[in-house]
C-alpha cells in the first residue's frame, strides 16, 4: 500500500522524539558553557613550551635548535637564538631562544614540532577557547605566553607527562657521572602551582 514506507519512517522519527526525553543514547546534547565533555588525554590544539623548576625564564627546556621551526609544515614558528649561553636545568650551559613566536592564526595543530623535538621542550596544549576580536598581535603568541610549567603539562596529559619525565630522568642518570653532582633531576617541579591554566 502506498504510504506505508512513509509511515514506517515517521515511526522512527517518533521513536527518536519520545526517546530523546529519557533514553541516554538519544540524549546527547552537551550544554556547553556550563557542562563540558571531557577532553581525551591525547587531545591537542596548539603547542606550548615546557619549563622545569619554578622560573619560566631559567627552566625553559628549549635550546633554540630550530628543528621545529624548520620542520613546521605551515612555517608558523619563529625563533631567534640567543648569543650567550646559560645553564639549563641540569647545569649544562645551553643556548636559549631570545624570541620564540608561534602564530596560532596559522598553526594547523599537526603535532610535528612535538615529534621532532629532541629535548621534549614543546608539547601540545588543550586550550581551545581562544576567540578574540583582534587579529594580528593577539594571535601571535610570544615566549611569555607559550611558557608553561611541567606541572601544567602533568595536569593536561598525565600519562604522557609521566613517560616523558621517566625518559628524561633516565637520560639524566646516564649523564650524571659527568654532570655536577648537585644537578636537579627533571620533574622536581611537582610542587609548583600550575601557572598557565
Amino acid at each position: 500500500m502506498i504510504g506505508t514506507g512513509i509511515l514506517k519512517g515517521m515511526a522512527v522519527t517518533a521513536r527518536n522524539f519520545v526517546g530523546s526525553y529519557f533514553e541516554k543514547e538519544r540524549l546527547i546534547t552537551v550544554q556547553y558553557p556550563e557542562e563540558r565533555s571531557p577532553l581525551p588525554e591525547n587531545y591537542r590544539n596548539f603547542p606550548f613550551l615546557i619549563y622545569d623548576t619554578e622560573d619560566a625564564e631559567a627552566g625553559l627546556r628549549c635550546v633554540a635548535c630550530k628543528i621545529c621551526e624548520k620542520e613546521c609544515p605551515p612555517q608558523c614558528i619563529y625563533i631567534v637564538k640567543s648569543e650567550d649561553k646559560k645553564p639549563d636545568y641540569m647545569g649544562k650551559p645551553q643556548f636559549y631562544p631570545k624570541i620564540f613566536d608561534i602564530d596560532i592564526s596559522v598553526c594547523m595543530s599537526c603535532q610535528i614540532c612535538v615529534e621532532v623535538c629532541p629535548f621534549e621542550a614543546i608539547k601540545m596544549d588543550k586550550v581551545f577557547e581562544l576567540s578574540t576580536r583582534e587579529r594580528f598581535d593577539a594571535l601571535r603568541q610570544g615566549k611569555d605566553e607559550l611558557s608553561k610549567s611541567n606541572t601544567y603539562y602533568h595536569s593536561i596529559h598525565p600519562i604522557e607527562a609521566a613517560e616523558v619525565d621517566a625518559k628524561l630522568a633516565e637520560a639524566a642518570a646516564k649523564k650524571k657521572p659527568a654532570a655536577a653532582p648537585a644537578a636537579p633531576t627533571a620533574g622536581t617541579s611537582k610542587s609548583t602551582p600550575p601557572s598557565g591554566s
Binding site: 514506507g5 519512517g9 522512527v12 581525551p40 591525547n42 620542520e71 599537526c110
Partner: protein
C-alpha cells in the same frame, strides 16, 4: 567572469525569434558556489529548457588551495597533515593512501599491528563518511535536518574514537611512513568495539527511515542512470562504479593492508541509478562492520612503528611510485616522483570525487533542476578533494 558557455554552439542554440511562447529558449542559471545544498563551494552552469536540464557545465576551483604545489615545497612528513585536509571527512584513509605511496617509494615494511589498526580506522572512516553522506543526500532531497541529525549523532561517536586515539576530531594526522604514530590501548579497542556493535542498530533504524519511503523512491529510482561502459571509461570508482554492477574494489584487487585476511562481500548495484548508489552505501556499511569485527578479533600485539624509518630528514631514493587505496569515495591515489631530496619533485593526488564528477553532465541531462541536487549528492563529493 564569463559564464563558461563559449562552447555552446550557435547551431545547438534554438533561434532567438520572439514568439508568443517562450518554449525552446534556454535559460542559463548559475548554481553555486554559495548554494543551499551541503556540498561546499561547487558551481554548475546549467542551461534549462523550462525545468529540464539541457546542458550542465561544472565550474571548479573555488576551493583550489594548491595542495600539490605546497606538497612539492614541503618535506615528505610535512605533507601528511595536509592530506587530512583533502577529503576532510576521511582523514584516516587519506593518511593511509599517502603513507602507502611513500612506503612503496622507499620500500618500507609496516608492522602487523599497524596494518590492523589502519584497517580498523579506515573502516571506521567509511562508516562515518557513508552515514553522513546519507544524511546530506536526504537533506538535499528536502528531508531537512532530521536524517542529518541522526547521521551526525552516530558520526560524533566515531569522531570521539578518533579524537581519543589521535588527538583531533577531524584532522587526525595519525599515520606515519612505516606504521602509526601512537598505539591504541586495549581500552580504546574495547570502546571502538562497543561503538561498532551498536552501529547496526542505527543502520536498521536508518534503513527503516528511508528504504521504503515512497517519496525517496520516486525521487531516486531511474534518476541519473549510469551505464557500466561509460562508468569504466570515465574512470568512476568506488560505490558509484559498483552501483552500476561493476565488480571492482581495490581492497580485493590490490589486496593491500591485510584485506585478503578478512571475509567480506562487495555489494553490487543493478541499475546504476541514484537509488542504487544510495543503497550501496548502506550495504557497504554492513560489510565494514563485518571487517571491523574480524579485525578486532585478529589484531595481534606488537609494535606499531617500523623502527628503521627516520622521522626527520627522510629522503627516499630517486624514482617514482603510484599507490592507491579504496577510500570511501573511490580510488584515492598518490603519485610521487622523488629526486632524492627531502621534498617530492612531483606530488600528485588522484582525487576520486573530482574524477567521479566527469559524467555529472551525462547523468543530469534530461532531468529536472531539482534532480540535479540529488544526483550531485549521490556522487558524494567533498570540495577539499575535488579542487585540492
Amino acid at each position: 567572469m564569463s559564464l563558461g558557455f563559449q562552447e555552446l554552439e550557435a547551431a545547438e542554440r534554438p533561434p532567438t525569434i520572439m514568439t508568443s511562447r517562450l518554449e525552446g529558449e534556454l535559460l542559463e542559471v548559475s548554481m553555486g558556489p554559495q548554494h543551499p545544498s551541503t556540498h561546499g563551494v561547487f558551481r554548475m552552469n546549467v542551461a534549462l529548457d523550462g525545468e529540464i536540464v539541457r546542458k550542465l557545465k561544472p565550474v571548479f576551483g573555488y576551493l583550489h588551495r594548491n595542495h600539490e604545489k605546497i606538497g612539492e615545497n614541503t618535506s615528505y612528513l610535512g605533507s601528511m597533515p595536509y592530506t587530512d585536509r583533502l577529503d576532510y571527512f576521511c582523514s584516516m584513509t587519506n593518511n593511509w593512501a599517502y603513507a602507502l605511496s611513500v612506503e612503496k617509494l622507499a620500500g618500507i615494511e609496516v608492522p602487523e599491528r599497524a596494518e590492523y589498526l589502519r584497517v580498523i580506522l579506515a573502516e571506521l572512516t567509511r562508516l562515518q563518511n557513508h552515514a553522513s553522506l546519507l544524511g546530506f543526500l536526504l537533506s538535499d532531497m528536502g528531508a531537512w535536518g532530521t536524517p542529518l541529525m541522526y547521521a551526525f549523532r552516530e558520526r560524533e561517536k566515531i569522531l570521539d574514537l578518533f579524537e581519543s586515539l589521535s588527538g583531533s576530531r577531524m584532522m587526525c594526522d595519525y599515520m606515519r611512513f612505516g606504521g602509526c604514530r601512537v598505539d591504541a590501548s586495549p581500552e580504546w579497542l574495547a570502546r571502538a568495539k562497543e561503538v561498532v556493535n551498536r552501529f547496526p542498530k542505527f543502520l536498521d533504524e536508518f534503513e527503516n527511515l528511508i528504504v521504503e519511503n515512497e517519496i525517496l523512491i520516486a525521487r531516486t529510482q531511474n534518476v541519473g542512470k549510469l551505464s557500466p561502459g561509460l562508468a569504466i571509461s570515465a574512470g568512476i570508482t568506488g560505490p558509484m562504479l559498483r552501483a552500476c554492477g561493476v565488480n571492482y574494489d581495490i581492497r580485493k584487487v590490490d589486496g593491500y593492508g591485510y584485506y585478503p585476511r578478512f571475509k567480506f562481500r562487495i555489494p553490487l548495484g543493478e541499475h546504476g541509478d541514484t537509488y542504487d548508489r544510495l543503497m550501496m552505501r548502506a550495504l557497504e556499511m554492513r560489510e565494514s562492520i563485518a571487517i571491523l569485527n574480524q579485525a578486532f578479533e585478529q589484531i595481534p600485539a606488537g609494535p606499531v612503528m617500523n623502527p628503521k624509518v627516520k622521522i626527520r630528514a627522510f629522503k627516499p631514493p630517486v624514482g617514482e611510485a603510484y599507490g592507491r587505496i579504496e577510500a570511501p569515495k573511490g580510488e584515492l591515489g598518490f603519485y610521487l616522483i622523488s629526486d632524492g631530496s627531502s621534498n617530492p619533485y612531483r606530488y600528485r593526488v588522484r582525487p576520486p570525487s573530482f574524477i567521479n564528477l566527469t559524467i555529472l553532465e551525462d547523468l543530469c541531462l534530461g532531468h529536472t533542476v531539482a534532480d540535479v541536487m540529488v544526483i550531485l549528492g549521490s556522487v558524494d563529493i567533498v570540495m577539499g578533494e575535488v579542487d585540492r
